[in-house]
């Protein structure tokens, strides 16, 4: 319990660091970002809105700490103001629309790659020095090291542009009404295939390595020798003795990876024109929409922190040694 409370305190500090970072960044840059932002918007925003933005971003008259408190207040009350690129729409509303897409995409891709990767890793450690062990981890690591910007471009070009097997963008067919019908769900799945394959290729190697290395460490333990001495079958030793213990680092790594996966699919969403947070962040960079950009950043930080916290809790639940 003390462990969890300590971690919780750490994450709360981290959130404040992120907010402070967001607060300081526009102040350290040359020029006034609010003015720059209005110049970039080019008359789309009424001048009355200027003061509201200044207040929201904390650019009020007064010393720095007053500005900081003002900024904290607008963050903690979720009053993030309207966006610039789609002017009257609120930042929070736009974000709400993107979050489900990103979470569904990265969540599914992570889970699939974890399951496949763990099986390959298990098999590789089971047949140490065999073909799978020598070839698969290295090959997938090679694939995963290609930057995601490049792999997604190539996959997009081959399967969407040239072969036309999959659609060129969006989360679902824009002609269909969002509803819980088979047609709409099929459209979502069809649109998600390529982004998911890209994420899968990028993540698989991690899980093969995590599982294989965890297994290799566990297989050196005394109780494995004991199990062998008892004459148990190799299969039973692998599944009931080794894999059960090797899975512990994997489980906590998974929940951590989920957070980072949400933050890491900016390229995939941009190339495949997928309506998630990553693409929203990219668009807001292009439109110099600082409020939106900062909101995206804060949200992604929150995801990562939440995922890390879940990993800590899982660790305590799964490892009795930490529960004392």
């Amino acid at each position: 319990m003390a462990f969890i409370l300590r971690r919780l305190a750490f994450y709360i500090i981290a959130i404040f660091v992120a907010i402070t970072f967001n607060f300081l960044i526009p102040r350290m840059m040359p020029g006034d970002p609010v003015d720059a932002l209005f110049a970039a918007a080019g008359g789309r925003i009424p001048p009355e809105q200027l003061d509201a933005y200044k207040e929201m971003l904390g650019f009020v008259d007064g010393p720095l700490w007053v500005q900081y408190l003002q900024y904290l207040k607008s963050i903690l009350t979720f009053d993030l103001g309207p966006t610039i690129m789609m002017f009257p729409v609120q930042v929070t509303e736009l974000l709400q629309r993107t979050v489900p897409w990103t979470i569904a995409l990265s969540g599914t891709a992570t889970l699939i790659s974890v399951v496949v990767g763990c099986f390959i890793g298990l098999y590789a450690s089971y047949n140490r020095g065999g073909f799978v062990d020598r070839f698969y981890p290295v090959f997938w690591q090679f694939m995963a090291s290609m930057p995601q910007a490049v792999t997604s471009l190539f996959i997009f070009f081959i399967f969407a542009m040239t072969l036309k097997w999959f659609p060129l963008g969006y989360g679902a067919d824009p002609d269909l009404d969002p509803a819980f019908t088979w047609e709409y769900i099929r459209s979502i799945l069809h649109h998600a295939v390529l982004p998911m394959v890209t994420l899968f290729v990028a993540m698989l190697a991690t899980w093969i390595f995590t599982m294989r290395n965890a297994m290799v460490n566990v297989l050196g333990e005394d109780y494995i020798t004991m199990a062998k001495a008892k004459g148990l079958s190799a299969r039973r030793i692998m599944t009931h003795y080794a894999a059960r213990n090797a899975i512990l680092p994997v489980v906590t790594a998974v929940s951590m990876a989920l957070g980072f996966a949400v933050a890491g699919q900016i390229f995939v969403e941009t190339v495949f024109n997928y309506p998630g947070i990553g693409q929203m962040m990219f668009k807001s960079v292009g439109a110099r929409d600082y409020p939106m950009m900062q909101a995206c950043f804060l949200l992604l930080v929150l995801f990562v922190l939440a995922a890390n916290f879940i990993a800590d809790v899982l660790y305590v639940l799964l490892d009795p040694r930490l529960r004392k």
């Binding site: 090679f142 490049v150 933050a263 950043f297």
Partner: protein, 309 residues
């Protein structure tokens, strides 16, 4: 004169033998680096000059074709590689130095210093890297290669610092360190002469790993339009290919060429990293060695059986 050469040959032989990952990785990485360094010898075309009509497919004159603006892609990819590699190396050197300094100080000095440094490191560690880079670059405006290297260098050291710290903690109680302390050696001497040489394989792995990460991150940032588009590098080549609609007009060479160079460099560095890992952590080793070991084990067992009967 000959002796150090022989020693080097021996060391290289030991590194490459039965390690295809190391052979392939080293070949890819050195070929690309040498080609980029030798760019003026391989082509006499200025990468910024218009030499052909836009979007010409690869031919005998233009080995990799031309961009929409009619620039020679072969020349661009070689000269651009210099910029990209320079950024990667600068970022990797900065990251490694900061990580080494923070990690070793934290691990060896301990106490309050350790607590403060690690609290800071851990907070930086939970920040998602990519969005952080994007926010920084977006507020700085279109950033040149040097600034990109700085941003990457200052943001990617926390993980390495943690690894260095835990390794330093493990070393700190070894006999040779205790002996050095008893002899009254200064802290600096212990850190520089006794501890850091024992971290060399970690440092090498970290350097290669950061290079790999920096190549991808730089290409990604420039691809998203956060870099300075007037500088020729692999990332800006991708950016121009994307923004000049190379996809739609079917000019695949415009992005396939820089994309392949980035991908090969990334893959090659990853193979190098794996082979460094296998040397510094023999427990995780795979490959031909295991086969030899198995054969020896079978022989020993056969002999044992023979002896028993």
């Amino acid at each position: 004169m000959l002796k150090p050469l022989k020693k080097l040959k021996h060391a290289l032989g030991r590194y490459f033998k039965g390690n295809p990952a190391a052979i392939i990785g080293t070949t890819i990485v050195t070929t690309i680096i040498v080609a980029c360094l030798a760019a003026p010898l391989l082509t006499d075309v200025d990468p910024n000059r218009r030499v052909a009509r836009g979007h010409q497919p690869p031919s005998a004159d233009l080995i990799f074709g031309s961009t929409r603006a009619g620039k020679d892609i072969f020349s661009q990819v070689l000269y651009g590689g210099r910029v990209s590699l320079m950024v990667a190396f600068t970022a990797a050197i900065m990251t490694t130095v900061i990580a080494l300094a923070v990690g070793v100080t934290s691990g060896y000095v301990g106490g309050k210093t350790d607590e403060t440094l690690m609290a800071f490191t851990n907070i930086l560690l939970v920040f998602p890297q990519l969005p952080l880079l994007i926010i920084l670059a977006a507020f700085l405006g279109q950033v040149g290669p040097f600034i990109i290297a700085m941003i990457l260098g200052f943001t990617s050291w926390p993980w390495g610092a943690r690894v260095m710290r835990s390794q330093t903690l493990a070393l700190r109680n070894k006999e040779f360190i205790v002996a050095a302390e008893t002899m009254g050696e200064s802290k600096w001497r212990i850190i520089l002469i006794e501890i850091i040489p024992n971290l060399i394989s970690l440092v090498a792995g970290m350097f290669v790993g950061t290079c790999l990460y920096a190549i991808g991150a730089q290409a990604g940032m420039e691809f998203l339009g956060l870099g300075d588009p007037t500088v020729v590098s692999w990332g800006t080549m991708l950016y121009w290919a994307q923004s000049s609609a190379a996809f739609i007009v079917g000019a695949w060479w415009d992005f396939v060429v820089p994309g392949t160079f980035i991908a090969l460099m990334g893959g090659g560095l990853a193979l190098l990293n794996i082979s460094i890992d296998q040397i510094s952590n023999p427990k995780l080793k795979t490959g031909a060695y295991i086969k030899i070991w198995r054969r020896m084990k079978a022989e020993v067992e056969a002999r044992r059986k023979g002896a028993a009967s």
